[in-house]
């Protein structure tokens, strides 16, 4: 079966202990390629990118009166005609309800359950990739995906906003006006905040993912969790549990659009995300350590 094209037998010597970071980065890159070059995931990102464009066109054709709008997303709608930057915020707000969580559900469902379904989980573990190492790499990839997805929504919102509407100093929700650069810095913080919120959701997703070999089941379960959380969050009779709902602090980023910035709201949100990451990270890890891989 040999051909003359390979004449030397390459020898792999056990690598020195100093290189685990390089090896991990190589695995991480391979994982990123798998997630970001997968046609299905690219389609998801394209939908996320298309949404701000669509919203921008609708609002361009049917421009809301300046200052109109109500609470929540409405607070941004009224400002879009005066400043395209707000299209970016509006797009984040709208997509954070379902589409961004959906994208995170798909990718976190794939992470472990998808590999189990394909059988590639046993291939990777017999390499051996290492169970904890594999899980950590998978989660790091989910976090990168969350940042990429949020950035795409914000970036296209900004781009389309700048094309269709004027851009200038940003009038905050508290009424003050800050220079454009300041406004964009706040937008960047919001992108990070929302990406971290989605990463916390991804932690729930990867934990669910270690319990099944059906990626679609993880996706559906996680979406149901999101929707129930959002519904409960809107029911004032259960206000006592609101702070513990995974989606409760997702929209608290408007605190970053006030002067002075209401840091306490932001920090509460970050603490909630961190708690979800730790709790579900431990569940995922404990499950992954012990699980019998029979797929």
């Amino acid at each position: 079966m040999s051909t003359a094209s390979v004449t030397e037998v390459p020898q792999s010597t056990p690598a020195p202990g100093a290189a685990p970071v390089r090896h991990w980065l190589r695995f991480f890159r391979s994982e990123l390629r798998n997630v970001f070059l997968r046609p299905r995931n690219l389609a998801l990102l394209a939908v996320l990118a298309g949404a701000p464009v669509f919203l921008g066109m609708v609002l361009r054709i049917n421009t809301p009166a300046p200052g109109s709008g109500g609470p929540g997303a409405g607070a941004f709608v009224g400002q879009i005609a005066g400043n395209g930057v707000f299209l970016s915020l509006f797009a984040i707000y709208v997509l954070l309800t379902v589409l961004l969580p959906l994208a995170v559900s798909v990718v976190s469902g794939d992470s472990v359950a998808g590999e189990a379904g394909l059988g590639t989980l046993r291939t990777l573990l017999t390499v051996p990739a290492g169970r904890t190492r594999l899980l950590a790499t998978k989660y790091a990839t989910i976090v990168v995906f969350c940042f990429a997805a949020t950035l795409i929504v914000a970036g296209l919102g900004l781009l389309v906003g700048a094309i269709f509407f004027p851009v200038g100093p940003v009038t905050l929700l508290s009424g003050d006006t800050v220079p454009l650069a300041d406004g964009l810095a706040r937008l960047a913080l919001i992108v990070c905040y929302v990406a971290l919120a989605m990463s916390a959701l991804g932690a729930i997703g990867i934990a669910l993912s270690t319990f099944t070999q059906h990626a679609i089941a993880v996706m559906a379960t996680l979406l149901v969790v999101v929707i129930i959380s959002e519904i409960l969050d809107a029911v004032s009779q259960v206000a006592a549990i609101h702070p513990y709902l995974p989606s409760h602090f997702w929209f608290s980023f408007d605190a970053l659009l006030r002067t002075p910035i209401a840091w306490s709201g932001v920090l509460h949100g970050l603490a909630s995300f961190a708690a979800y990451v730790v709790i579900f990270g431990v569940i995922a890890w404990a499950r992954m350590r012990r699980a019998d891989i029979t797929s």
Binding site: M1, P10, T13, S30, L118, V127
Partner: protein, 324 residues
């Protein structure tokens, strides 16, 4: 490929010359079924060990335990002289194909191997490309390396699975049914590949539900039946277990059986028009003379050793599914 490392010093004295030793290894799945029933494997270093048994006899489950994919319910094992508690340290020296190949259908063969290599925390980085090409070359997939896995034939998929185990020098290769579902040509290719791997000094542990597919390459066999190890030893030992039998075709089986009984032959079975018994060292021509003397019309007489296949079926019981 050569043995790059000798067995570490912590090898247990009895298992020092063995690539795999298990003791009382058992696995019960939830639901109460004992899939592997306290088996004691002894796989010598440098052997090609055929792990045989009908479908569902526990081969894959045993292999999953050896590779740390599932946790034994009872028992212990050692591989390459290393105890199962230090399994992580020994797995890099073990190449494996479990329950058929599993790769990403949307990646090419080469990309799939690159992914396996990237997952390896102790792969040699500078030689990655050369090692991947070499593994592809060894299994004859270099020409199809850039085709998507989805488009591979079953034989190509099996060979890619073996190639993943060849990405670095291994002391032990564990191949679970590498010939499953292949046509005779594909089976021959896998056999010659296994021979080539073994010739390089690697111990090969290869499972199959068809004895015929691996008997030509095995030095040792272990036979599984419903979770139990019913035979283990050199292939020659299994072969010598089969005692030659005499087979007589006649129109008068009862009288023929009577004559064989008088001559002291054991295990006489008589069916319509045919009588057979264990020869037990008696000369067949003498038996023939006795039969003729007793007036038995002998239409045909022959002696035969049971084939390995017959012994295998006998060991694994009648429920053996010959066709897989």
């Amino acid at each position: 490929m050569t043995l790059t490392e000798s067995a570490p010093a912590e090898a247990s004295p009895d298992g020092a010359d063995r690539a795999i030793t298990t003791s009382g290894l058992a696995m019960r799945f939830r639901g109460g079924q004992l899939a592997v029933d306290h088996i004691d494997l002894a796989v010598p270093h440098g052997s090609v060990y055929g792990f045989l048994g009908p479908n569902g006899s526990g081969k894959t489950t045993t292999i999953r335990m050896l590779l740390g994919l599932v946790h034994p319910t009872a028992g212990t094992f050692a591989m390459l002289g290393t105890d199962l508690r230090a399994l992580d340290s020994v797995l890099p020296r073990v190449g494996a194909l479990v329950e058929g190949p599993a790769f990403y259908p949307f990646l090419s063969g080469r990309q799939n191997l690159a992914r396996c290599d990237a997952a390896d925390p102790s792969a040699d980085l500078p030689t990655a490309r050369a090692r991947i090409d070499h593994a592809l070359d060894q299994v004859g997939l270099l020409a199809a390396a850039d085709k998507r896995y989805r488009a591979y034939s079953l034989g190509m998929k099996q060979r890619l699975g073996i190639a993943a185990g060849l990405l670095r020098p291994r002391d032990l290769m564990i191949l679970d049914e590498p010939t499953n579902g292949l046509d005779p040509q594909g089976t021959r290719e896998i056999r010659s590949l296994v021979k080539q791997i073994a010739a390089d000094g690697t111990t090969v542990f290869v499972s199959s539900h068809l004895l015929a597919e691996v008997e030509q390459i095995c030095s040792h066999v272990g036979v599984m039946s419903t979770g139990r190890l019913v035979f283990q030893g050199p292939l020659s030992e299994l072969r010598s277990r089969g005692e030659p039998r005499i087979l007589i075709r006649t129109t008068d089986p009862p009288t023929a059986a009577e004559v064989l009984g008088k001559l002291g032959l054991a295990d006489i079975t008589s069916t319509d028009g045919q009588v057979s018994a264990v020869l037990g060292g008696q000369p067949p021509e003498k038996i023939n003379a006795e039969l003729v003397h007793a007036g038995v019309p002998v239409a045909g007489l022959e002696t035969a050793r049971p084939s390995l296949e017959d012994l295998f079926v006998e060991l694994t019981g009648e429920g053996f599914d010959v066709n897989g």
